[in-house]
Symmetry: C2
Subunit: 313 residues, 2 copies
């Protein structure tokens, strides 16, 4: 069967696949005749993808994304075609959680003040992690990894998910419709929500009206879940003291965007997933992908990291 | 007996002391007659201290310092007078260790780049904590607390102490004369050494000549242990990539000091100990001090946090 490697794969990856009679084509060598023959898309190329889905006889059965979020895929159409989508959830949990801890410690320990100070003027209003309870929206692998770090510092961490079901590693978990009790006792909010119609614009003026001097708002979820103008207003009238955003709308942010102007806002430009060994590359994706290959080739079944196409995560 | 409270103590602290017939005097109310009668100095006032020690009949028996380091005390004279010194070691281990982690994550996750970026230009050369083995000089309570945080992130941490004896929480411990094997496999060095004649100028050109592209040099020990000019030279020729210094020589640093000029250097101006509940104050010191009071009043013996006056720590 044919696999379209949108993301680069190595020689040893190809050898592994050839054991299962999987042949690799790439976007720059693929022919028009091969397009409907593609069974697996390893990462997603929007232009080729549209051509694949324009053909009702397409053999496409499986897309492995390189991201945890899948909101850029034509989910409804993929469902109609019976395509299974597996995402990269978990792959980036460790680096992203380390970035979240870097944000918290940056503002808590006063590095935001010292980063630009060019004269002697000590600043002593620091916080300990234990003094800043954290509320994480999203209790999947990234949320759990964040929770484990907060707890290692002796801190308190609450979670929010759709139903409010308890998840290991959190002190308490609330539902999306009943998070206010946790919010009232938290000083840091982490937006780790997936991009779905339900989460769109969730962190808007209504949300920020419920906080007073929130120490830090973090977005490592999706840019669409946050109303950036409402956040800017909340920062300007001190409902929110600081913000650290890895994701924004749009990306890249245009020159002179107001988010660049506010000294209270730290932007990491969608690089919270970075690690040295895979600098600039999507390392580790194949290791995650290959676990599903044997059963898929044998019987068409996929076990790990399946996305619910109705929910979008 | 008389206690000189150089640091402020509360009403409930006074009540506790009065149970043991300890009477409190303060620097602004003390009389000339009371000076030789002082038995305990709670923190140290250099002017009053000199008057106390000028009198060979001084009753001074115990100094509780507000710091972990005691290099500002007249140690030799105190030994001659038979004075016991207890320090504040351990009191600031938690906040200082959190500041050390904030330094590591700040540079590792690229926040040093993003802190001043005012346009879109993603930076993807981040590191994970696991990719930056840490070597801590000093395996006391601060060093142990740092080690526990590094291990919680899955990282590797080596220690250095006088004899190289193993200390819980470190992967390996080396002696001050045999640290090179650990240095060769480390990317971060933490200077947590006390200020003694042996540690004076320890981190000098000879030390920095042994490293090549050391990712980060941290000083949360004593300013005197580091030759700042040698560090600046090591930064300028890339033997050391970044530095984070909480302590410097002198403090305050004068305007236009070259340490303020280097974008690779983060200065936190001797505030790594900060925590919100005790912002700007020496919180918790009395809790540490009071543990020694009953046995001292009863029999003159002191159990906890005794400084070796010959070694100076």
């Amino acid at each position: 069967m044919l696999l379209l490697a949108v993301k680069g794969i190595t020689e040893s990856n190809r050898k592994f696949l050839s054991q299962y009679d999987v042949t690799v084509v790439t976007p720059d060598t693929i022919t028009a005749q091969q397009i409907p023959e593609i069974v697996i898309s390893y990462a997603w190329d929007d232009a080729i993808g549209q051509k694949i889905l324009a053909n009702p006889n397409s053999k496409l059965k499986w897309i492995q994304t390189q991201s945890a979020g899948v909101d850029y895929l034509p989910l409804k159409k993929l469902k109609d075609f019976g395509v299974v989508v597996t995402n990269a959830s978990g792959l980036k949990a460790i680096p992203i959680a380390q970035t979240v801890l870097s944000y918290i410690l940056y503002f808590a320990r006063g590095l935001n003040i010292y980063a630009s100070r060019t004269h002697w003027e000590p600043y002593t209003n620091q916080y300990l992690v234990t003094e800043l309870p954290v509320l994480v929206f999203g209790t999947g692998r990234i949320g759990q990894q964040i929770a484990s770090h907060i707890r290692a510092f002796g801190g308190t961490v609450y979670g929010v998910n759709t139903t409010g079901h308890m998840v290991d590693g959190f002190d308490e978990v609330y539902s999306m419709h009943d998070y206010q009790k946790a919010l009232a006792k938290s000083r840091v909010v982490v937006d780790g929500l997936p991009g779905t119609p339900e989460t769109d614009d969730f962190f808007n003026n209504h949300f920020f009206d419920q906080v007073n001097q929130l120490f830090l708002f973090i977005n490592i979820g999706r840019g669409t879940t946050l109303n950036q103008n409402d956040l800017l207003a909340a920062i300007d009238d001190s409902r929110v003291k600081y913000a650290a955003l890895d994701v924004t709308t749009p990306e890249p942010l245009p020159k002179n965007h107001p988010l660049f102007d506010r000294p209270q806002v730290l932007l990491t430009q969608h690089t919270s997933w970075g690690e040295y060994v895979n600098a600039g590359r999507t390392g580790g994706l194949f290791r995650l992908f290959e676990k599903n290959v044997p059963s898929f080739v044998k019987s068409g079944t996929i076990q790990y990291n399946i996305v619910n196409l109705d929910k979008g995560y």
